[in-house]
Symmetry: C2
Subunit: 339 residues, 2 copies
DNA sequence: GTTCATGTTGACAGCGCTGTCATTACTGGA
DNA sequence: TCCAGTAATGACAGCGCTGTCAACATGAAC
């Protein structure tokens, strides 16, 4: 049988309430009492009954990670970070996927979200893209008065958020290509709905312009983050007039970069000797393709960690309205100096 | 404010207990009472307080998905399946990763698992490989009297399980290659610790033997499921004497199969014209490599679904001791008829 | 009409914890 | 010396639900 607070109290010769104070690190407990209670709780392997505590405090000690069809890789890192933050605070993480994309009307979306949230007793939720900017979700959360943290949101808002500086990352990656002597650097854009798409594009443009280069229209291709769209973009970029053919292609995610490598191979171009390629995200794919992709590592784990930390923090702790986390440029084998 | 059971009871002019009976589908409630209570509960958007219910029933309405360093893709499908089954039953899924690989002694593992499980109030857990066969985990669960379902376990045991028939899948895939006219079919084994490794190997051997073919030692290579090991295996298999060079390679997972395609490309071999390749698992990678991989789709979603279903089933429902789920052979572009 | 089985309902306690408030012990200052 | 202020502790109610058990209604069997 699991030990209860009463067991500990009896054994320590104090009241339940005192034990409760110790367990919750409340003040006004004599040091030796505190120590004794702690020792006995340990000995009995006591751990509080979450349901009872929740009933008394009207909290659930649960937070939710909500997502809608993200890449498994992304979600698994966020998840890992969030769980670690939860554990430190005695919380647990429940996962809650949505498929809001199938629904047309906002009204229907709201009803769907509400139906789920009505029976999901959580103290806070982490919203991952594209949910971070989903109006229906945001509205229901506000209506039900549930705290949330938005991961990599597109638009501003009253809620706290965590993110990274896509523009600067893209700028730096472009600079790296420039430093290797490349001038004809092409860029493949991602899905237009995605917050990161325009930021990454902007970073590339800024670096090119600062280098005094004119970005011809032929150097920009539109993709949608999928492998197939990357392949199409690559064919377009590499199939033009000789003078326009890029010596480097910066794809705005790894899937598209992998597609570029694949297409280049089919066209008889050597990567990186004839064509340098780089990606964005540092997915597992980046290390599996050949040559291994130079790419930007997003602080995904840390985003999850910080987001959860903000939600489970005790009210006396400092809160942070928004956090921009550091990225890292992973130099691998798909970029070479231009000869 | 959220509605409580008392609100519903007052409004319906019945006692709390009757409302409770209706909500839990208990018998012995007059049909019209039942209907009225249901209608009012709906109207009030009432949903029970999990903590209170949990306190009264000493259940938590939570089940855990435990994993140790699996592929994100695998876990995300299992997770999705499990969540869907939970929702149907009013349960929620909490995720709990472990890193038991770093620990050496069994004792230490047991303590680690116990520390986590002591404060994880769940009604049951889903164990994914390699945890499905982890002695420490199994022991702690038994000690704490927590139900579990093992996903794709290696060894037998008293607990229910879900899995698939790796041997038959491998057998059928090999037959497919045979049907395409291949005779020199090589096989790349996976990590020796993994339950599936020997099963997949056995299926291959059975098909080869039934076809009356002698499997030369040169046709078998050892890998460990990683891309790198697959590349090494491919180099070994393709670099031998001419008469031993396979016309088809069956890699026992997709990562290794992707490596084979990559190596073949580097060696100037056309896939599938000169070399057919197939994999196992149907990861996203399989559709992203070129040519797209012929592979075996595991019923991962369904495994998660069934596992959770077994854990959340009401005690009056039928239980299943073990379930072998159907796989599917995905015919794509990496296998061709031998000319 | 009485008896019994069965169906329907409600009163009430109590799950394990924490919030509130009262009580006691102890300190330093007037 | 006495009192106020503060630290340390405990008694008790109650969070929202369900399990138990008792009460009552109904109808069949005798």
């Amino acid at each position: 049988m699991k030990a209860t607070i009463t067991d500990v109290a009896k054994r320590a010769g104090v009241s339940m309430k005192t034990v409760s104070r110790v367990l919750n690190n409340e003040p006004n407990v004599a040091e030796n009492t505190r120590a004794r209670v702690k020792a006995i709780a340990d000995e009995l392997r006591y751990s509080p009954n979450l349901a009872a505590r929740g009933l008394a405090t009207s909290k659930s000690y649960l937070i939710a990670l909500m997502y809608d069809n993200p890449s498994p890789n992304y979600i698994s890192h966020i998840q890992r970070g969030a769980i670690d933050a939860c554990r430190e605070a005695g919380y647990h993480l429940v996962v809650q996927p949505f498929s809001l994309g199938d629904l047309v009307s906002t009204d229907e979306k709201i009803r769907t979200v509400r139906r789920v949230m009505d029976r999901l007793p959580v103290d806070g939720v982490i919203l991952t893209p594209p949910l971070s900017d989903n109006a229906a979700v945001l509205e229901v959360l506000e209506e039900l008065n549930i705290k949330c943290v938005r991961v990599a949101p597109k638009n501003g808002g009253a809620q706290p958020f965590v993110g990274m500086d896509d523009e600067t990352a893209s700028y730096q990656m472009t600079q790296h290509l420039l430093n290797q002597g490349h001038k004809k650097i092409a860029f493949i854009r991602g899905h237009a709905d995605h917050a990161a798409t325009s930021l990454r594009h902007a970073g590339y443009m800024r670096a090119m312009q600062e280098a005094g280069l004119v970005v011809s229209e032929n150097l920009i291709a539109q993709g949608d983050f999928s492998f197939e769209s990357g392949a199409a973009a690559a064919r377009k970029l590499l199939g033009g007039q000789t003078e326009d053919i890029p010596t480097a292609i910066f794809a705005s995610n790894d899937d598209m970069a992998a597609a570029v490598i694949s297409v280049a191979g089919q066209m008889g171009l050597n990567v990186p000797e004839t064509l340098s390629v780089c990606g964005f995200d540092d997915t597992p794919l980046a290390r599996v393709v050949w040559p291994a992709l130079t790419t930007v590592r997003q602080p995904i784990y840390k985003m999850g960690h910080q987001a959860a930390k903000e939600l489970v923090r005790r009210s006396d702790e400092q809160s942070e309205k928004g956090q921009i986390l550091d990225f890292e440029i992973m130099l691998r084998d798909s970029v070479a100096k231009l000869k």
